[in-house]
Protein backbone atom coordinates (compact mmCIF):
# COMPACT_ATOMS: atom_id res chain seq x y z
CA UNK A 1 0.00 0.00 0.00
CA UNK A 2 2.89 2.31 0.90
CA UNK A 3 6.39 1.84 -0.34
CA UNK A 4 9.56 3.87 0.28
CA UNK A 5 12.41 2.99 -2.09
CA UNK A 6 15.76 4.36 -0.91
CA UNK A 7 14.27 7.70 0.03
CA UNK A 8 16.47 10.60 1.14
CA UNK A 9 15.14 14.01 2.13
CA UNK A 10 17.19 17.06 3.10
CA UNK A 11 15.71 20.11 4.84
CA UNK A 12 16.52 23.62 3.57
CA UNK A 13 19.00 24.09 6.43
CA UNK A 14 20.96 21.08 5.17
CA UNK A 15 19.81 18.61 7.84
CA UNK A 16 19.17 15.14 6.43
CA UNK A 17 15.73 14.23 7.78
CA UNK A 18 15.52 10.92 5.94
CA UNK A 19 18.49 8.92 4.78
CA UNK A 20 18.10 6.05 2.38
CA UNK A 21 14.85 4.80 3.88
CA UNK A 22 13.31 1.68 2.38
CA UNK A 23 10.05 0.49 3.86
CA UNK A 24 7.11 -1.50 2.56
CA UNK A 25 3.73 -1.41 4.29
CA UNK A 26 1.17 -3.93 3.06
CA UNK A 27 -2.56 -3.18 2.78
CA UNK A 28 -4.29 -3.82 6.12
CA UNK A 29 -1.14 -3.63 8.20
CA UNK A 30 -1.02 -1.66 11.49
CA UNK A 31 2.37 -0.03 11.89
CA UNK A 32 3.75 2.05 14.76
CA UNK A 33 6.60 4.45 14.04
CA UNK A 34 8.70 5.29 17.09
CA UNK A 35 11.91 7.19 17.80
CA UNK A 36 13.21 10.27 19.58
CA UNK A 37 12.28 13.88 18.73
CA UNK A 38 13.82 14.78 15.39
CA UNK A 39 14.29 11.17 14.27
CA UNK A 40 12.34 11.83 11.04
CA UNK A 41 8.96 10.32 11.92
CA UNK A 42 6.80 13.27 10.89
CA UNK A 43 8.93 13.85 7.76
CA UNK A 44 8.23 10.24 6.80
CA UNK A 45 4.48 10.77 7.22
CA UNK A 46 4.55 13.94 5.13
CA UNK A 47 6.04 11.92 2.29
CA UNK A 48 3.08 9.55 2.33
CA UNK A 49 0.62 12.44 2.03
CA UNK A 50 2.68 14.05 -0.72
CA UNK A 51 3.26 17.21 1.34
CA UNK A 52 6.96 16.51 0.93
CA UNK A 53 8.55 14.90 -2.12
CA UNK A 54 11.76 12.87 -1.84
CA UNK A 55 15.06 14.44 -2.88
CA UNK A 56 16.26 10.98 -3.87
CA UNK A 57 14.35 7.73 -4.25
CA UNK A 58 10.66 7.02 -4.75
CA UNK A 59 7.54 6.97 -2.58
CA UNK A 60 4.65 4.87 -3.90
CA UNK A 61 1.14 5.05 -2.44
CA UNK A 62 -1.24 2.43 -3.78
CA UNK A 63 1.21 1.88 -6.62
CA UNK A 64 1.37 5.55 -7.64
CA UNK A 65 4.49 7.70 -7.46
CA UNK A 66 3.75 10.66 -5.15
CA UNK A 67 5.73 13.03 -7.38
CA UNK A 68 3.19 12.34 -10.17
CA UNK A 69 0.06 12.55 -8.01
CA UNK A 70 -1.54 15.68 -6.58
CA UNK A 71 -1.95 16.01 -2.81
CA UNK A 72 -5.70 16.35 -3.46
CA UNK A 73 -5.79 12.94 -5.16
CA UNK A 74 -3.66 11.42 -2.41
CA UNK A 75 -5.84 12.85 0.36
CA UNK A 76 -8.81 10.80 -0.87
CA UNK A 77 -6.78 7.67 -0.15
CA UNK A 78 -4.68 8.82 2.82
CA UNK A 79 -6.23 10.54 5.84
CA UNK A 80 -3.82 12.16 8.30
CA UNK A 81 -4.51 13.54 11.76
CA UNK A 82 -1.52 15.78 12.42
CA UNK A 83 0.11 16.39 15.78
CA UNK A 84 -1.28 19.90 16.19
CA UNK A 85 -5.04 19.96 15.48
CA UNK A 86 -5.04 23.78 15.31
CA UNK A 87 -3.39 23.46 11.89
CA UNK A 88 -6.37 21.47 10.62
CA UNK A 89 -9.44 23.15 12.12
CA UNK A 90 -10.87 26.30 10.54
CA UNK A 91 -14.68 26.11 10.29
CA UNK A 92 -17.26 28.02 12.30
CA UNK A 93 -18.90 24.99 13.85
CA UNK A 94 -17.92 21.45 14.69
CA UNK A 95 -20.48 19.96 12.26
CA UNK A 96 -19.36 22.29 9.46
CA UNK A 97 -15.78 21.22 10.10
CA UNK A 98 -16.76 17.60 9.47
CA UNK A 99 -19.06 18.33 6.54
CA UNK A 100 -16.49 20.45 4.69
CA UNK A 101 -14.21 17.61 3.63
CA UNK A 102 -17.11 15.32 2.78
CA UNK A 103 -18.72 17.90 0.48
CA UNK A 104 -15.38 18.52 -1.18
CA UNK A 105 -15.11 14.85 -1.99
CA UNK A 106 -18.58 15.01 -3.56
CA UNK A 107 -20.60 13.11 -0.94
CA UNK A 108 -24.38 13.63 -1.26
CA UNK A 109 -26.07 15.81 1.41
CA UNK A 110 -27.90 12.91 3.12
CA UNK A 111 -24.67 10.94 3.33
CA UNK A 112 -22.80 13.99 4.68
CA UNK A 113 -25.44 14.34 7.42
CA UNK A 114 -25.27 10.63 8.24
CA UNK A 115 -21.45 10.55 8.42
CA UNK A 116 -21.25 13.70 10.55
CA UNK A 117 -23.68 12.24 13.11
CA UNK A 118 -21.79 8.93 13.10
CA UNK A 119 -18.39 10.55 13.60
CA UNK A 120 -19.47 12.90 16.37
CA UNK A 121 -21.10 10.05 18.26
CA UNK A 122 -18.12 7.74 17.84
CA UNK A 123 -15.79 10.33 19.38
CA UNK A 124 -18.14 11.64 22.08
CA UNK A 125 -18.49 15.11 20.50
CA UNK A 126 -22.25 15.24 19.78
CA UNK A 127 -22.94 17.90 22.42
CA UNK A 128 -20.57 20.30 20.62
CA UNK A 129 -22.20 19.84 17.19
CA UNK A 130 -23.20 23.52 16.88
CA UNK A 131 -20.27 24.95 18.90
CA UNK A 132 -17.16 26.56 17.46
CA UNK A 133 -14.18 24.16 17.30
CA UNK A 134 -12.33 26.84 19.31
CA UNK A 135 -14.25 26.02 22.51
CA UNK A 136 -13.02 22.41 22.39
CA UNK A 137 -10.18 21.29 24.65
CA UNK A 138 -6.90 20.14 23.08
CA UNK A 139 -7.89 16.49 23.38
CA UNK A 140 -11.34 17.10 21.91
CA UNK A 141 -9.85 18.95 18.93
CA UNK A 142 -7.65 15.95 18.23
CA UNK A 143 -10.68 13.68 18.29
CA UNK A 144 -12.50 16.00 15.93
CA UNK A 145 -9.70 15.89 13.33
CA UNK A 146 -9.80 12.11 13.56
CA UNK A 147 -13.59 12.03 13.16
CA UNK A 148 -13.27 14.25 10.04
CA UNK A 149 -10.82 11.85 8.46
CA UNK A 150 -12.63 8.61 9.26
CA UNK A 151 -15.86 10.12 7.88
CA UNK A 152 -14.56 10.06 4.32
CA UNK A 153 -13.32 6.50 4.70
CA UNK A 154 -9.74 6.68 3.35
CA UNK A 155 -7.86 3.41 2.79
CA UNK A 156 -4.86 4.59 4.78
CA UNK A 157 -5.22 6.31 8.15
CA UNK A 158 -2.20 8.07 9.65
CA UNK A 159 -2.23 9.29 13.24
CA UNK A 160 0.60 11.57 14.39
CA UNK A 161 0.85 11.54 18.22
CA UNK A 162 -2.87 10.77 18.67
CA UNK A 163 -2.72 10.30 22.46
CA UNK A 164 -1.42 13.78 23.33
CA UNK A 165 -3.98 15.43 25.61
CA UNK A 166 -6.12 12.27 25.85
CA UNK A 167 -7.11 10.70 29.16
CA UNK A 168 -6.97 6.96 29.79
CA UNK A 169 -10.62 6.39 28.84
CA UNK A 170 -10.18 8.19 25.51
CA UNK A 171 -6.94 6.31 24.93
CA UNK A 172 -8.75 3.00 25.44
CA UNK A 173 -11.38 4.09 22.91
CA UNK A 174 -8.70 5.20 20.49
CA UNK A 175 -6.95 1.83 20.78
CA UNK A 176 -10.35 0.23 20.07
CA UNK A 177 -10.80 2.47 17.02
CA UNK A 178 -7.38 1.45 15.70
CA UNK A 179 -8.25 -2.24 16.17
CA UNK A 180 -11.58 -1.66 14.41
CA UNK A 181 -9.87 0.09 11.48
CA UNK A 182 -7.38 -2.66 11.17
CA UNK A 183 -10.06 -5.36 11.36
CA UNK A 184 -11.93 -3.60 8.56
CA UNK A 185 -8.86 -3.83 6.35
CA UNK A 186 -7.51 -0.28 6.65
CA UNK A 187 -3.82 0.40 6.61
CA UNK A 188 -3.05 2.23 9.85
CA UNK A 189 0.15 4.10 10.65
CA UNK A 190 0.59 5.52 14.16
CA UNK A 191 3.46 7.83 15.07
CA UNK A 192 3.81 8.06 18.84
CA UNK A 193 6.08 8.33 21.87
CA UNK A 194 3.38 6.69 23.93
CA UNK A 195 4.77 3.18 24.14
CA UNK A 196 2.27 2.21 26.85
CA UNK A 197 -0.50 2.98 24.37
CA UNK A 198 1.11 1.24 21.38
CA UNK A 199 2.30 -1.95 23.03
CA UNK A 200 -1.09 -3.60 23.82
CA UNK A 201 -2.18 -3.02 20.20
CA UNK A 202 0.81 -5.20 19.22
CA UNK A 203 1.53 -3.51 15.90
CA UNK A 204 4.47 -3.93 13.60
CA UNK A 205 7.02 -1.48 15.00
CA UNK A 206 9.40 0.63 12.91
CA UNK A 207 12.14 2.29 14.98
CA UNK A 208 13.73 5.44 13.55
CA UNK A 209 16.88 7.25 14.56
CA UNK A 210 18.56 10.22 12.85
CA UNK A 211 16.54 9.77 9.64
CA UNK A 212 17.17 6.04 9.33
CA UNK A 213 15.13 2.94 10.03
CA UNK A 214 17.13 1.09 12.70
CA UNK A 215 14.57 -1.55 13.68
CA UNK A 216 11.53 -3.18 12.08
CA UNK A 217 9.51 -6.11 13.40
CA UNK A 218 6.59 -7.25 15.56
CA UNK A 219 6.07 -5.42 18.89
CA UNK A 220 6.39 -8.70 20.78
CA UNK A 221 10.02 -9.01 19.65
CA UNK A 222 11.19 -5.37 19.33
CA UNK A 223 9.85 -4.24 22.69
CA UNK A 224 12.13 -6.77 24.38
CA UNK A 225 15.24 -5.46 22.67
CA UNK A 226 16.39 -3.01 25.32
CA UNK A 227 19.68 -2.28 23.54
CA UNK A 228 17.83 -1.14 20.40
CA UNK A 229 15.23 0.85 22.36
CA UNK A 230 17.87 2.59 24.48
CA UNK A 231 19.97 3.58 21.46
CA UNK A 232 16.87 5.07 19.79
CA UNK A 233 15.75 6.73 23.07
CA UNK A 234 12.50 4.80 23.06
CA UNK A 235 11.01 3.67 26.38
CA UNK A 236 10.34 0.01 27.09
CA UNK A 237 6.73 -0.82 28.08
CA UNK A 238 6.64 -0.98 31.89
CA UNK A 239 5.21 -4.50 32.03
CA UNK A 240 7.79 -5.78 29.54
CA UNK A 241 10.55 -4.24 31.65
CA UNK A 242 9.05 -5.69 34.84
CA UNK A 243 8.87 -9.16 33.31
CA UNK A 244 12.40 -8.82 31.99
CA UNK A 245 13.79 -7.85 35.39
CA UNK A 246 11.80 -10.55 37.08
CA UNK A 247 14.03 -13.04 35.28
CA UNK A 248 13.71 -16.48 36.79
CA UNK A 249 11.90 -15.44 39.97
CA UNK A 250 8.92 -17.74 40.15
CA UNK A 251 6.56 -15.53 42.11
CA UNK A 252 4.44 -13.96 39.36
CA UNK A 253 0.97 -15.38 38.73
CA UNK A 254 1.28 -15.04 34.93
CA UNK A 255 3.47 -16.27 32.11
CA UNK A 256 4.31 -13.19 30.02
CA UNK A 257 3.79 -9.39 29.95
CA UNK A 258 0.63 -9.53 27.82
CA UNK A 259 -0.90 -12.06 30.16
CA UNK A 260 0.07 -9.78 33.08
CA UNK A 261 -1.84 -7.01 31.37
CA UNK A 262 -4.94 -9.19 30.97
CA UNK A 263 -4.63 -10.23 34.61
CA UNK A 264 -4.55 -6.56 35.66
CA UNK A 265 -7.53 -5.66 33.45
CA UNK A 266 -9.61 -8.51 34.85
CA UNK A 267 -8.54 -7.79 38.43
CA UNK A 268 -9.56 -4.18 38.10
CA UNK A 269 -12.96 -5.14 36.74
CA UNK A 270 -13.74 -7.71 39.46
Amino acid sequence: MIEFREVTFVHQNGVKALENVSLKIEPGETVAIVGENGAGKTTLVKHVTGLLKPALGTVLVDGEDTTRTSTAQLSRKVGVAFQNPDHQLFSESVEEEMAFGLRNFGFLPELVEQRVTWGLELFGLSEYRKSSPLVLSGGEKKRLTLACILAWDPRVVILDEPTVGQDSIQKEKLAGTIRMLSASGKTVVVVSHDIEFLWPIQPRVVVMKAGKVVGDGPASRLMQDRGLLDSARVAQPQLVEFYDRLGSRPAAPFADPLEARRWIEEGHRS
Binding site: N13, H193, R233, A251
Partner: protein
Protein backbone atom coordinates in the same frame (compact mmCIF):
# COMPACT_ATOMS: atom_id res chain seq x y z
CA UNK B 1 3.94 27.60 55.29
CA UNK B 2 1.87 30.20 53.44
CA UNK B 3 -0.22 29.38 50.42
CA UNK B 4 1.07 30.71 47.13
CA UNK B 5 -2.18 29.82 45.37
CA UNK B 6 -5.67 30.00 46.84
CA UNK B 7 -8.70 29.21 44.72
CA UNK B 8 -12.04 29.66 46.45
CA UNK B 9 -15.39 28.54 45.12
CA UNK B 10 -14.41 29.28 41.52
CA UNK B 11 -16.95 28.78 38.72
CA UNK B 12 -16.58 29.84 35.10
CA UNK B 13 -18.53 29.48 31.87
CA UNK B 14 -17.43 30.56 28.38
CA UNK B 15 -20.02 32.72 26.60
CA UNK B 16 -20.87 30.24 23.80
CA UNK B 17 -20.42 27.02 25.75
CA UNK B 18 -23.35 24.79 26.74
CA UNK B 19 -22.00 24.12 30.26
CA UNK B 20 -19.82 25.43 33.09
CA UNK B 21 -16.12 24.73 32.46
CA UNK B 22 -15.18 25.00 36.17
CA UNK B 23 -17.67 24.48 39.03
CA UNK B 24 -17.31 25.43 42.73
CA UNK B 25 -13.60 24.72 42.71
CA UNK B 26 -11.42 25.06 45.84
CA UNK B 27 -7.67 24.55 46.06
CA UNK B 28 -4.90 25.78 48.36
CA UNK B 29 -1.27 25.18 47.33
CA UNK B 30 1.50 25.82 49.90
CA UNK B 31 4.67 27.52 48.61
CA UNK B 32 7.27 25.07 47.25
CA UNK B 33 4.94 22.18 46.40
CA UNK B 34 4.75 20.28 43.12
CA UNK B 35 1.09 19.61 42.36
CA UNK B 36 -0.13 17.42 39.50
CA UNK B 37 -3.50 18.29 38.01
CA UNK B 38 -5.12 15.42 36.10
CA UNK B 39 -8.51 14.48 34.72
CA UNK B 40 -10.28 13.53 31.50
CA UNK B 41 -9.90 15.67 28.41
CA UNK B 42 -12.39 18.53 28.54
CA UNK B 43 -12.65 18.37 32.37
CA UNK B 44 -11.75 22.03 32.80
CA UNK B 45 -8.01 21.81 33.53
CA UNK B 46 -7.00 24.37 30.91
CA UNK B 47 -9.76 26.73 32.00
CA UNK B 48 -8.55 26.49 35.59
CA UNK B 49 -4.99 27.33 34.51
CA UNK B 50 -6.24 30.34 32.56
CA UNK B 51 -8.02 31.55 35.68
CA UNK B 52 -4.73 31.28 37.60
CA UNK B 53 -2.53 33.12 35.09
CA UNK B 54 -5.18 35.78 34.51
CA UNK B 55 -6.11 35.01 30.89
CA UNK B 56 -9.49 34.48 32.53
CA UNK B 57 -11.06 37.02 33.05
CA UNK B 58 -8.65 39.51 31.43
CA UNK B 59 -8.57 37.97 27.93
CA UNK B 60 -11.47 35.50 27.99
CA UNK B 61 -14.70 36.94 29.29
CA UNK B 62 -17.52 34.83 30.65
CA UNK B 63 -19.60 34.05 33.71
CA UNK B 64 -17.19 34.27 36.70
CA UNK B 65 -17.84 33.49 40.35
CA UNK B 66 -15.49 33.02 43.32
CA UNK B 67 -11.85 34.09 43.60
CA UNK B 68 -8.29 33.15 42.69
CA UNK B 69 -5.38 34.57 44.70
CA UNK B 70 -1.71 34.26 43.76
CA UNK B 71 0.68 35.28 46.51
CA UNK B 72 -2.21 37.06 48.22
CA UNK B 73 -3.22 39.12 45.15
CA UNK B 74 -6.67 38.64 43.65
CA UNK B 75 -6.16 37.72 39.99
CA UNK B 76 -9.41 39.33 38.90
CA UNK B 77 -8.45 42.67 40.43
CA UNK B 78 -4.87 42.85 39.16
CA UNK B 79 -3.61 43.40 35.61
CA UNK B 80 -1.78 41.07 33.21
CA UNK B 81 1.47 42.99 33.68
CA UNK B 82 1.45 42.40 37.43
CA UNK B 83 0.41 38.77 37.00
CA UNK B 84 3.13 38.05 34.45
CA UNK B 85 5.69 38.54 37.22
CA UNK B 86 3.93 36.23 39.65
CA UNK B 87 2.84 33.35 37.49
CA UNK B 88 5.02 31.73 34.83
CA UNK B 89 3.28 29.68 32.17
CA UNK B 90 4.89 27.06 29.94
CA UNK B 91 2.70 26.00 27.04
CA UNK B 92 2.50 22.43 25.80
CA UNK B 93 4.17 23.35 22.56
CA UNK B 94 7.26 25.57 23.01
CA UNK B 95 6.84 26.75 19.40
CA UNK B 96 3.98 28.87 20.71
CA UNK B 97 6.25 30.91 22.93
CA UNK B 98 9.67 31.22 21.33
CA UNK B 99 10.00 33.46 18.33
CA UNK B 100 13.05 35.74 18.54
CA UNK B 101 16.21 35.44 16.43
CA UNK B 102 18.50 34.26 19.20
CA UNK B 103 17.98 32.22 22.33
CA UNK B 104 19.10 34.98 24.70
CA UNK B 105 16.88 37.59 23.04
CA UNK B 106 14.02 35.18 23.43
CA UNK B 107 14.70 34.64 27.12
CA UNK B 108 14.94 38.43 27.59
CA UNK B 109 11.67 39.14 25.77
CA UNK B 110 9.39 39.16 28.82
CA UNK B 111 11.82 41.34 30.79
CA UNK B 112 12.09 43.84 27.90
CA UNK B 113 8.33 44.15 27.91
CA UNK B 114 8.36 44.98 31.60
CA UNK B 115 11.05 47.61 31.06
CA UNK B 116 13.58 45.91 33.33
CA UNK B 117 16.93 47.88 33.27
CA UNK B 118 19.61 46.46 30.92
CA UNK B 119 22.05 45.41 33.63
CA UNK B 120 19.37 43.60 35.61
CA UNK B 121 18.13 41.97 32.41
CA UNK B 122 21.62 40.65 31.60
CA UNK B 123 21.94 39.20 35.10
CA UNK B 124 18.58 37.44 34.99
CA UNK B 125 19.05 36.04 31.47
CA UNK B 126 22.46 34.63 32.41
CA UNK B 127 21.06 33.18 35.61
CA UNK B 128 18.20 31.47 33.73
CA UNK B 129 20.55 30.04 31.12
CA UNK B 130 22.82 28.72 33.86
CA UNK B 131 19.92 27.13 35.74
CA UNK B 132 18.75 25.31 32.63
CA UNK B 133 22.22 24.57 31.39
CA UNK B 134 21.75 26.19 27.99
CA UNK B 135 24.54 28.81 28.13
CA UNK B 136 26.16 27.45 24.97
CA UNK B 137 22.92 27.99 23.04
CA UNK B 138 22.78 31.76 23.81
CA UNK B 139 23.42 32.94 20.25
CA UNK B 140 21.74 30.10 18.38
CA UNK B 141 18.43 30.59 16.55
CA UNK B 142 15.60 28.94 18.51
CA UNK B 143 14.05 27.29 15.45
CA UNK B 144 17.24 25.27 14.86
CA UNK B 145 17.09 23.63 18.28
CA UNK B 146 15.77 20.19 19.19
CA UNK B 147 12.35 19.95 20.86
CA UNK B 148 13.89 19.31 24.27
CA UNK B 149 16.17 22.35 23.88
CA UNK B 150 13.24 24.52 22.75
CA UNK B 151 11.35 23.44 25.85
CA UNK B 152 14.31 24.54 28.00
CA UNK B 153 14.57 27.89 26.24
CA UNK B 154 10.86 28.54 26.78
CA UNK B 155 11.21 27.57 30.45
CA UNK B 156 14.27 29.83 30.82
CA UNK B 157 12.16 32.72 29.52
CA UNK B 158 9.54 31.90 32.13
CA UNK B 159 12.08 31.66 34.98
CA UNK B 160 13.79 34.95 34.03
CA UNK B 161 10.63 36.67 35.25
CA UNK B 162 11.35 35.05 38.65
CA UNK B 163 7.81 33.84 39.21
CA UNK B 164 7.02 32.14 42.52
CA UNK B 165 4.47 29.94 40.79
CA UNK B 166 5.11 28.13 37.51
CA UNK B 167 2.39 26.35 35.56
CA UNK B 168 3.36 23.64 33.10
CA UNK B 169 0.68 22.53 30.63
CA UNK B 170 1.47 18.97 29.53
CA UNK B 171 5.17 19.76 29.36
CA UNK B 172 6.30 16.26 28.35
CA UNK B 173 3.60 15.25 25.91
CA UNK B 174 5.62 16.12 22.81
CA UNK B 175 8.95 14.91 24.20
CA UNK B 176 10.53 11.49 23.81
CA UNK B 177 10.85 9.52 27.07
CA UNK B 178 14.50 10.38 27.76
CA UNK B 179 13.99 14.09 27.15
CA UNK B 180 10.81 13.98 29.26
CA UNK B 181 12.72 12.40 32.16
CA UNK B 182 15.28 15.23 31.94
CA UNK B 183 12.52 17.84 32.16
CA UNK B 184 10.94 16.19 35.20
CA UNK B 185 14.39 16.07 36.86
CA UNK B 186 14.68 19.77 36.18
CA UNK B 187 11.37 20.50 37.94
CA UNK B 188 12.60 18.63 41.02
CA UNK B 189 15.88 20.58 40.99
CA UNK B 190 14.27 24.03 40.56
CA UNK B 191 11.84 23.38 43.37
CA UNK B 192 14.76 22.44 45.61
CA UNK B 193 17.12 25.26 44.58
CA UNK B 194 14.66 28.14 44.15
CA UNK B 195 11.68 26.99 46.19
CA UNK B 196 9.47 27.51 43.12
CA UNK B 197 5.94 26.10 43.29
CA UNK B 198 4.84 24.02 40.29
CA UNK B 199 1.35 23.18 39.10
CA UNK B 200 1.66 20.62 36.33
CA UNK B 201 -1.13 19.41 34.08
CA UNK B 202 -0.15 16.02 32.81
CA UNK B 203 -1.63 12.80 31.50
CA UNK B 204 1.66 10.97 31.47
CA UNK B 205 2.26 10.23 35.12
CA UNK B 206 4.97 7.57 35.20
CA UNK B 207 7.80 10.10 35.60
CA UNK B 208 6.05 12.92 37.38
CA UNK B 209 4.51 11.07 40.32
CA UNK B 210 8.01 10.47 41.66
CA UNK B 211 8.57 14.18 42.28
CA UNK B 212 5.01 15.34 43.03
CA UNK B 213 3.75 16.12 46.56
CA UNK B 214 0.12 16.09 45.64
CA UNK B 215 -2.35 15.09 42.96
CA UNK B 216 -5.63 16.77 42.18
CA UNK B 217 -8.12 15.13 39.82
CA UNK B 218 -10.86 17.11 38.06
CA UNK B 219 -14.00 15.84 36.38
CA UNK B 220 -16.70 17.90 34.67
CA UNK B 221 -15.25 21.09 36.12
CA UNK B 222 -15.16 19.87 39.72
CA UNK B 223 -12.37 18.67 42.00
CA UNK B 224 -13.13 14.98 42.60
CA UNK B 225 -9.91 13.61 44.14
CA UNK B 226 -7.04 15.12 46.11
CA UNK B 227 -4.19 13.44 47.96
CA UNK B 228 -0.61 12.18 47.70
CA UNK B 229 0.18 10.39 44.41
CA UNK B 230 0.05 7.06 46.31
CA UNK B 231 -3.37 7.81 47.77
CA UNK B 232 -4.84 8.84 44.44
CA UNK B 233 -3.25 6.20 42.21
CA UNK B 234 -3.82 3.22 44.54
CA UNK B 235 -7.36 4.44 45.28
CA UNK B 236 -10.50 2.99 43.76
CA UNK B 237 -11.67 5.92 41.65
CA UNK B 238 -8.68 7.30 39.74
CA UNK B 239 -9.21 5.16 36.64
CA UNK B 240 -12.91 5.85 36.42
CA UNK B 241 -11.99 9.54 36.05
CA UNK B 242 -9.67 8.74 33.16
CA UNK B 243 -6.42 9.15 35.10
CA UNK B 244 -3.70 7.27 33.24
CA UNK B 245 -2.48 5.18 36.15
CA UNK B 246 0.96 3.84 35.08
CA UNK B 247 0.70 0.13 34.24
CA UNK B 248 3.40 -0.76 36.76
CA UNK B 249 1.34 0.98 39.46
CA UNK B 250 -1.78 -0.96 38.43
CA UNK B 251 0.27 -4.13 38.67
CA UNK B 252 1.66 -3.14 42.08
CA UNK B 253 -1.88 -2.51 43.32
CA UNK B 254 -2.93 -6.03 42.27
CA UNK B 255 0.17 -7.61 43.80
CA UNK B 256 -0.49 -5.70 47.05
CA UNK B 257 -4.06 -6.98 47.05
CA UNK B 258 -2.87 -10.55 46.66
CA UNK B 259 -0.10 -10.12 49.24
CA UNK B 260 2.66 -10.74 46.67
CA UNK B 261 4.42 -7.47 47.58
CA UNK B 262 4.23 -5.43 50.78
CA UNK B 263 5.77 -2.04 49.88
CA UNK B 264 3.15 0.71 49.56
CA UNK B 265 5.42 3.38 48.01
CA UNK B 266 5.14 3.87 44.24
CA UNK B 267 7.70 1.65 42.54
CA UNK B 268 9.42 1.50 39.13
CA UNK B 269 9.24 -1.77 37.12
CA UNK B 270 12.75 -2.71 38.30
CA UNK B 271 11.95 -1.97 41.95
CA UNK B 272 8.72 -3.94 41.76
CA UNK B 273 10.46 -6.92 40.17
CA UNK B 274 13.05 -6.78 42.96
CA UNK B 275 10.32 -6.64 45.61
CA UNK B 276 8.82 -9.91 44.32
CA UNK B 277 11.76 -11.81 45.81
CA UNK B 278 10.57 -12.52 49.31
CA UNK B 279 6.83 -12.69 48.64
CA UNK B 280 4.77 -15.87 48.93
CA UNK B 281 3.97 -17.71 45.68
Amino acid sequence: MSNILEIEDLSFRYPDSPRMAVVDFDLAVPEGEVVVLAGPSGCGKSTLLRAVNGLIPHMYSGEYKGSVRVGGTNVRESNMRELAQKVGFLFQNPENQIFMFTVERDIAFGLENLGVPRQEMRTRVDESMRLLDIGELALRAPHELSDGQKQRVALAGVLAMRPRLVILDEPTSLLDPKTAAELVGLVARLRKELGTTFVVVEHRLDLLVKVADRMVVMNEGRKVLEGTPEEVLFGEDAESYGVSVPSVTRLQKMLLRDGLVQNRGLMTPAELAGAMDGGPV
